[in-house]
Symmetry: C2
Subunit: 491 residues, 2 copies
């Protein structure tokens, strides 16, 4: 019987035993880092280091000369050897009835004729991948995170040569055609946002066999994944890709975000020498993206910023805004003006407040400067009034936030927070944050102030799944994508 | 004789003696903070705290009941008192022949009828500002930075109620219609980029008398200013504004960057309740901006990021790129692909390399993967070759950078830097940075890696005036504005 897609992908994401072909005692070799990655991150399956020239043990594991010397069954082989030796050793894997292989070496389609010859050999040996399935070549492997690095459940399955030491389990899965997004850039994101959690990271490389679609299909069925962040330079099966994106629209808790490389001729040239795939022309890409109806990012930082926003929204079960009806509470007229401009430019809007919400606002504002009737609140006059009545600044802000969020037409809130010792560190943040998460409406914060205090507040907000931004336009755009996704959804 | 514009503005930016009306011993009052700001920042002129209800001294300075009790001449009065008392005390200032007043209180045009009455009284008392010139009301004062806060020359003139403790003198001047950009947000920027230097910060508020144009004119003539960052909600004198912007085009070392608030109806409503000025309709704004030919930013972070880039470019005398001919050296095919896409989307381009530059590149690349003929360098294969020849990774990168920068057609460079302990901290950064600044072509760096190491490298680069970015699109956009400015220039 032909194995199901889930069974195939489980070989790669959930293997019981792996052979590392090219394992090495040499501390500056990728074959060493891969074994180290597996062992130090508590991979629960068996690991066999393979190297015909090595003897003894590596991190307590006995070297074998060949996969054929292993007595037990092996699910997956991870190759970290020069490209020329791959066909022969892949043949050994087939003889051993290993079901899957990850080839991390480069030097295939992307280098021209000689690489194409190597590819043809692999196609022949594997009988067009009917004898063994393959990820790569030219990739960074796959990672599965089961438990946070700083917890007792630390670990998972890390098959790449990029070393991961600090990570958090979460609801984001990455599929990338550039190994950087599974290696160096992912580390960058994880260290920048230590509270951001990932479940899988898959580097598909040249996509000689398996591609984005098989993993996308798997993640759509995996309940531990809410957000799928993609970087692609080409679509291997455009129709299947569109079909899966359409399927995602009918699943309430799945969002696909993508950045497409090779939108321009120059980008396509870069892509050709990168993964050997010629990007599609921009008309086809636009057609695919339009039909797929997924969230598009413009660069890597934006891709992960969008992923972070959706991850938080799903983590605390916020409701996606349907109409883009936003409210704002800010303490600066200038910020309010620019924020209003951006809100309108992103086709969001301020609903009019009903009598009830408006009355609550009127109560906290001074007579000489009553609030607007629409949900744009410059809180400054209310804070001045509050000070005269011996109210804490925080109380006044909280009352304004409660007032606008109580308005049924309002679907979300932008709040400006000035972070400064003497202001934010005296504030009962636990209470503030809990209050924000009592509402099912997304609340986004714009943080300004002392750099150190901004970083401290950022960490608290991240831990509590409250999206926060240093940049007004980013904040507005991240709310706008929630509206887009709400419009994408069909159920 | 009518005083010149420079003479008028010198009253505000360079006064010899100031009276602080509303000075207070109460540590939570703005009138206390202003005196504190002046004294702790070593203001060289005389300071007179004025308060009819106070006795004794404030920070060593004797309280006076009224400006009329001061024996010496006074240049400038700073008002920090409720709006209702202002006309009467302003009259005292006129009697004392004080030449300028800064009114920081709000509650004028922006609050409707009662505020308009107050304005009319002020117009009458000052005889349409022929008897005394005025900044404000509803503003954050002005600041002039003479020396870095951590140096022996610490200080300058700080007249706002926002307290400044850490600052650096530099070539940027801020003119803002929102006090936030002269207070909280400026502190935010200064703490985020401690290496970024400012010369002046002017909060024009409601612009009842003096406005953006008088300060703009002054800064165009002040050789210590290269970059003028503006936030405006309205143009007080559109023709004069355009004329000054055109004048700036003929000055080689002056750049004006602006963010305009109130581009949308909703933003205009916000602006009306902010500074009482109705923003112009978007057609007029577009016409002004087009004729002015200045760099436009979309939000505050971008405004200061643009200012930082130009500040660095002027600090080290880099040449503005005329044609947008860019080169890039990156170590990731994915980054190269997305960066290429962005470069093309921003109408920049990769020139073809001449024989000489190309040959230098060919030498460092392996035969199996020669470099492109255009200035887009994926350095990975060259680093692999270098490793085999026992070359340091840094050497290879430096050789590639030198090769593309040696190409006469190339006007600048994007380089990707992966920051990680064990990589960047072993690198001779002094040498690298000095090399980059030997070239008159701007070099921008994209930094990824461990958050802590990224911050460390950022500080080094900032100190050496090398623009650096965490976001690819920001990096490209910041180069694009250099090309825009080069096209703006007429000489």
């Amino acid at each position: 019987m032909k194995p199901s897609n889930n069974e195939i992908i489980d070989i790669f994401l959930n293997p019981k035993s792996v052979a590392v072909i090219g394992a090495s005692k040499n501390l500056v070799k990728g074959g060493n880092w891969i074994v180290n990655n597996l062992v130090t991150n508590n991979f629960k399956g068996r690991v066999y280091p393979i190297n015909p020239n090595a003897t003894g043990k590596l991190l307590g594991l006995e070297f074998k000369k060949s996969v054929l010397d292993i007595e037990e069954d092996v699910d997956l082989a991870i190759f970290y050897i020069p490209n020329r030796s791959i066909p022969e050793l892949l043949d050994d894997c087939i003889k051993k009835e290993i079901k899957g292989a990850i080839i991390e070496a480069s030097g295939f389609e992307e280098v021209g004729e000689k690489g194409l010859e190597l590819r043809d050999k692999i196609l022949q040996i594997t009988d067009n991948f009917s004898k063994i399935r393959l990820i790569g070549p030219n990739c960074m492997g796959v990672s599965r995170i089961d438990g946070d690095s700083n917890s007792d459940e630390k670990g998972g399955f890390f098959s790449g040569f990029g070393t991961f030491q600090e990570y958090k389990r979460g609801n984001i899965a990455v599929i990338s055609q550039s190994g950087m997004l599974n290696g160096g850039y992912l580390m960058h994101v994880m260290s920048k946002y230590p509270e951001m959690g990932f479940r899988y990271s898959v580097s598909v490389g040249n996509k000689m066999d398996l591609s984005e679609v098989e993993f996308l299909e798997y993640f759509l069925e995996d309940p531990s994944v809410n957000v799928i962040a993609l970087y692609l330079e080409s679509f291997k099966y455009p129709r299947k890709f569109i079909e899966l994106c359409k399927k995602a629209k009918r699943i309430p808790d799945k969002t696909i975000i993508m950045i497409k490389g090779g939108l321009t001729i120059q980008g396509q040239k870069a892509s050709l020498s990168h993964t050997g795939t010629l990007s599609e022309d921009s008309k086809l890409i636009k057609a695919v993206m339009k039909q797929a109806g997924i969230i598009q990012a413009r660069d890597f930082e934006e891709l992960f910023q969008f992923a972070r926003t959706f991850s938080m929204i799903y983590n605390v079960g916020k409701i996606l805004p349907k109409h883009g009806n936003i409210s704002m509470v800010v303490g600066s007229g200038g910020a309010g003006t620019i924020l209003s401009d951006l809100i309108i430019q992103y086709s969001l809007n301020f609903p009019l407040l009903g009598d009830e919400a408006y009355k609550s606002l009127v109560n906290i504002f001074p007579d000489w400067m009553p609030p607007n009737r629409f949900a744009l609140v410059d809180i400054w006059p209310a804070m001045e009034k509050g000070l005269r009545n011996n109210m804490m600044r925080e109380e006044v802000i909280q009352m304004a936030i409660d007032a606008v969020l109580s308005e049924p037409e309002v679907e979300g809130l932008f709040n400006m927070m000035f972070c400064r010792k003497g202001i934010t560190n005296n504030r009962d943040f636990k209470l503030f944050v809990d209050n924000l998460n009592k509402s099912k409406k997304p609340v986004f914060l714009w943080l300004v102030g002392e750099a150190k205090e901004v970083r401290r507040i950022t960490r608290i907000l991240n831990k509590n799944n409250i999206p926060n931004f240093p940049n007004l336009e980013n904040m507005v755009k991240n709310f706008w994508i929630l509206v887009q996704e709400s419009k994408n959804k069909r159920f």
